[in-house]
């Protein structure tokens, strides 16, 4: 997947000289100016990308397997696991292996702070100005208590376009991809989408 993205991120910029070179190689008089051809190419390329976005599904871009946390994982262990793996969150599974929730940095912060819209900076401010640090709030709790549930999940055939919409509408950053029984087969994160997006902009930010 990484390799594919590296290739996708290469900008394809056609110059009129390329077009002229091609027109010279093709025998016969081609009744179009190089500039017009370039424009046709640019627009057609955008259409091809659009088609690609609509034909790509979670299956094609997801990270698999997804690293899941059992629902009864101690929060301290869970935090260590996420930190070690450089994950900012992950699906939570029950004893039968089904996805029952999603846990993310946001959930940890919420447990540490007060109120709904807690941010890392709020927690830092609180820790620095108060005697005790709120991170202690995490002790003796398990993932199941803080996770976002029920989880927003999707099947492997959801299109990339639909995933983008879900991310925006539900304000989420990761989408566990589950099979018919609700068992995780992978995860699509914003990173996966961004990697695909760089393809649609031809490598430009």
């Amino acid at each position: 997947m990484k390799q594919v993205n590296a290739v996708c991120c290469t900008t394809i910029e056609l110059s009129e000289f390329d077009v002229i070179a091609a027109m010279k190689e093709i025998p016969g008089y081609i009744d179009i100016t190089p500039g017009d051809f370039k424009e046709v190419f640019r627009v057609a390329y955008a259409h091809a990308l659009q088609r690609l976005m609509e034909s790509r599904t979670a299956k094609d871009i997801m990270t698999a397997p997804a690293h899941c946390l059992p629902v009864n994982t101690d929060l301290v262990l869970a935090a260590k696991f996420l930190a070690d793996q450089h994950f900012s969150g992950g699906p939570v599974i029950d004893e039968s292996g089904r996805v029952v929730g999603v846990v993310s940095e946001k959930d940890f912060l919420q447990k540490m702070g007060v109120g709904q819209h807690v941010s890392m900076m709020q927690v830092a401010t609180h820790c620095l100005s108060n005697k005790g640090c709120m991170v202690m709030n995490l002790r003796n709790h398990v993932v199941g208590e803080i996770m976002s549930a029920p989880p927003i999940t999707a099947g492997p055939d959801i299109t990339v376009g639909a995933i983008s919409t879900l991310f925006t509408e539900k304000k989420i950053n990761r989408l566990p991809i589950v099979d018919a029984e609700g068992r995780p087969v992978g995860i699509v994160t914003r990173t996966n989408l961004v990697q695909l997006h760089c393809l649609s902009t031809g490598g430009r930010p």
């Binding site: 027109m23 008089y29 009744d31 190089p34 500039g35």
Partner: protein, 178 residues
């Protein structure tokens, strides 16, 4: 000033073609016009009719010189000439007293109609104009002008284009029929 900027152009001219291409273009157009001209002088002219009109020179350029062009395809060749001929004859008959208006409307309406019917063929504009300013012999034809010289001449050019262009290893004609 965007308007004046536009007049600067700035695009690149397409490359020229090889001598082989020039040779095929010459051969095709020579044979195409030969066919129409022979029919005209040996057969049709003797009946006081015509088969050869100026716009066929332009059609020959497209059919044998720019074979790949969308403007050179059978749909455009036949549609462009026939629609334009109809418009031209109508303009000549209705507005014959105002030749300048008949000429302008014949060409402009022919172009609009070719656009609308996706049969754009530049020589069609000439076909429409000839219907107006082609002189008494053309005017006398009335709407027969559409069939002969226009449609029949175009068909002869088309047949020669099919026969000659496809002999050339690097050519294929047509790209599409309709």
């Amino acid at each position: 000033m965007k308007y004046w900027q536009k007049m600067k152009g700035g695009g690149q001219s397409p490359p020229g073609v090889s001598l082989v291409e020039v040779g095929w273009s010459w051969l095709g157009s020579f044979l195409g016009i030969t066919a129409v001209a022979l029919l005209h002088y040996n057969l049709v002219d003797q009946q006081g009719l015509t088969m050869l009109i100026g716009s066929f020179g332009a059609s020959a350029m497209l059919l044998y010189g720019a074979t790949r062009s969308p403007l050179a395809q059978p749909r455009n060749l036949l549609g462009g000439h026939v629609f334009s001929a109809i418009v031209g004859v109508a303009a000549a008959q209705w507005l014959g007293h105002y030749p300048w208006l008949a000429a302008a409307l014949a060409v402009s309406i022919a172009i609009a109609l070719m656009h609308l019917t996706k049969t754009l063929h530049p020589p069609g504009g000439a076909t429409a104009l000839i219907a107006v300013m082609g002189g008494e012999s053309i005017h006398q034809l009335g709407y027969w002008y559409v069939l002969m010289p226009t449609a029949l001449g175009a068909i002869v050019l088309l047949v020669i284009a099919l026969l000659v262009n496809n002999v050339a290893p690097n050519r294929r004609y047509p790209e599409f029929w309709f």
